[in-house]
Every structure is written in structure tokens, then in C-alpha cells.
């Protein structure tokens, strides 16, 4: 029997993997992809609770989360292109213009 706890554990696992990706990777593109993973894990939890409580509100909020994730991805990749044009790198460690 699949309960919503299964979904929550899976969501937590995906969020942890995504967090690890954000914290450890150096390639900015992969960091942005890891952020997408985290947002997906949040969506999974929202959908699981919507199913458990038999209310649709969780799914409505998941739609909003997807909209914000798309906005974040497009602006992030736009910034990345501008950055690559100026610094010729996608390494997060080399992007230190604001560091003392």
C-alpha cells in the first residue's frame, strides 16, 4: 500500500540530492539543473498532500511553483550567457567579481 509517506520520503531524498548538487558542483549549468530537482521534489510533496487531503489546492500551488521555476531557469540561463560572454567560464569558483 502506497501512502503519502512514501511520496514524502521520495521528495526528501530528491531534495537532498539536489542540495548536494548545488553545494558541490562547479559547473553553473549543473547547479541550475540541481535547483530544478529541488523544486520538483517540492512539487512532489504538494501533490502527495493534495491527494491525501483530497483537495486540489496543492496541485494549484504546484502549478505556481512550476511557473516560478521556469522564470528562474530562463533568467538564470540568461545571466549565465552574459557571464560567459564576459568571463569565458562556467565555473562557479571563478565567478568572484563581488568577492573583496
Amino acid at each position: 500500500m502506497i501512502t503519502s509517506t512514501h511520496y514524502l520520503v521520495l521528495g526528501g531524498l530528491l531534495a537532498l540530492i539536489g542540495t548536494l548538487g548545488v553545494l558541490t558542483r562547479r559547473n553553473v549549468v549543473v547547479i541550475l539543473m540541481s535547483i530544478e530537482l529541488i523544486l520538483n521534489a517540492a512539487n512532489l510533496n504538494l501533490v502527495a498532500f493534495a491527494r491525501e487531503l483530497n483537495q486540489i489546492q496543492g496541485q494549484v500551488f504546484a502549478v505556481f511553483v512550476i511557473a516560478i521555476a521556469v522564470a528562474e531557469a530562463s533568467v538564470g540561463l540568461g545571466i549565465l550567457i552574459a557571464l560567459f560572454r564576459n568571463k569565458e567560464t562556467v565555473d562557479a569558483g571563478e565567478i568572484d567579481l563581488l568577492k573583496w
Binding site: L14, T19, S34, E52, L53, N54, V60, G78
Partner: protein
């Protein structure tokens, strides 16, 4: 029973895709594995009777966002990035942090595991119809705000990515 088989299959797809996304050296491979992970999550949406979100996930994420990612990966120079070190020097600290967070989650789930009931029966109304009625009545203002956010993001992305003309 069939539910459980499908759940574990999609969960395996999602987790394996996520792990490979984070660990692959080549960013294109990462993107492909992220697509696999997103498809797994889409299957889980379908299992949780979120048919509209399933469609949105496939069309928008797998079709749209991942296309954007692949285009950008091809725009930026990958050959150099592949030869550099892939993980930052702080990876032990990050791993410790993730371990602590995972431990906390385990404790919480062990406490809550028995409390959460099995999922309720589906509604009689269609999923998309129900979702649209709630979204356009109860959440009309957030919906409009989301469209404004998307417009601002679109303008911002174009502004960031364009070549400086005349300067």
C-alpha cells in the same frame, strides 16, 4: 499491488536520474539524466492523480526547460569545463550537511510515518476541470501575478542574453 510496482519503478527512475544528474562529468549527459528524473516525477504525478500536472511536467519541463538548458550548454564552451575539476573543495562539508539533513528527515518521518493515512479516493470531477475552477476563482490574483512574473522573467532573460548594441 500494481500501484506499488509502478510507484517503485517511477521512484527508481526519479532517484537514479537525480543521482546521475549530479554526478555526471559532461553537462549534456547531466541534462539527459535530468530529463529521465523529470519523467519519473511526471509518472508519480500521474499515480497521485494529478493528470494536469503530468501533462504540464512533460510539455513544459521536458519539452521546454530542458530544451533551453541544452541550447545554453551548446552555447557555452564545454570542452574546457569538462577538463576542470567537477566538484568544489568544500564537498566534505556539503556531504556532512546533507547527512545531517537526511538524519533529521529520517527522524521526522519515523515519527510521522504511522500518522499519515493512506490516500483518499479520487474525486468524481475531472482533475483539470477541478483545478481550473479553483485556480480561476479562488486563486485568480496569484495566477495573474504569476503571469506578470513570467513576463518580467522573459524581458529579463532577453535583456541579459542579448549582445550589447553600439556600446
Amino acid at each position: 499491488m500494481l500501484d506499488a510496482i509502478f510507484f517503485y519503478a517511477f521512484a527508481l527512475l526519479a532517484v537514479a536520474g537525480a543521482v546521475l544528474t549530479v554526478t555526471r562529468r559532461n553537462a549534456v549527459h547531466s541534462a539527459i539524466w535530468l530529463i529521465v528524473s523529470l519523467l519519473g516525477v511526471a509518472g508519480l504525478f500521474l499515480l497521485a492523480q494529478a493528470e494536469f500536472l503530468f501533462a504540464v511536467q512533460i510539455v513544459l519541463y521536458v519539452g521546454g526547460v530542458m530544451l533551453l538548458f541544452l541550447m545554453v550548454i551548446m552555447l557555452v564552451n564545454l570542452d574546457r569545463a569538462k577538463q576542470e575539476r567537477q566538484f568544489s573543495q568544500q564537498w566534505p562539508a556539503a556531504l556532512a550537511l546533507a547527512a545531517v539533513a537526511g538524519f533529521g528527515l529520517t527522524v521526522v518521518f519515523r515519527k510521522a510515518g504511522a500518522v499519515l493515512p493512506p490516500m483518499a479516493s479520487p474525486a468524481e470531477q475531472g482533475n483539470t476541470q477541478w483545478l481550473s475552477e479553483v485556480m480561476f476563482r479562488q486563486y485568480l490574483l496569484p495566477f495573474e501575478l504569476a503571469s506578470v512574473v513570467l513576463l518580467v522573467a522573459m524581458v529579463g532573460a532577453v535583456l541579459m542574453a542579448r549582445k550589447k548594441a553600439g556600446t
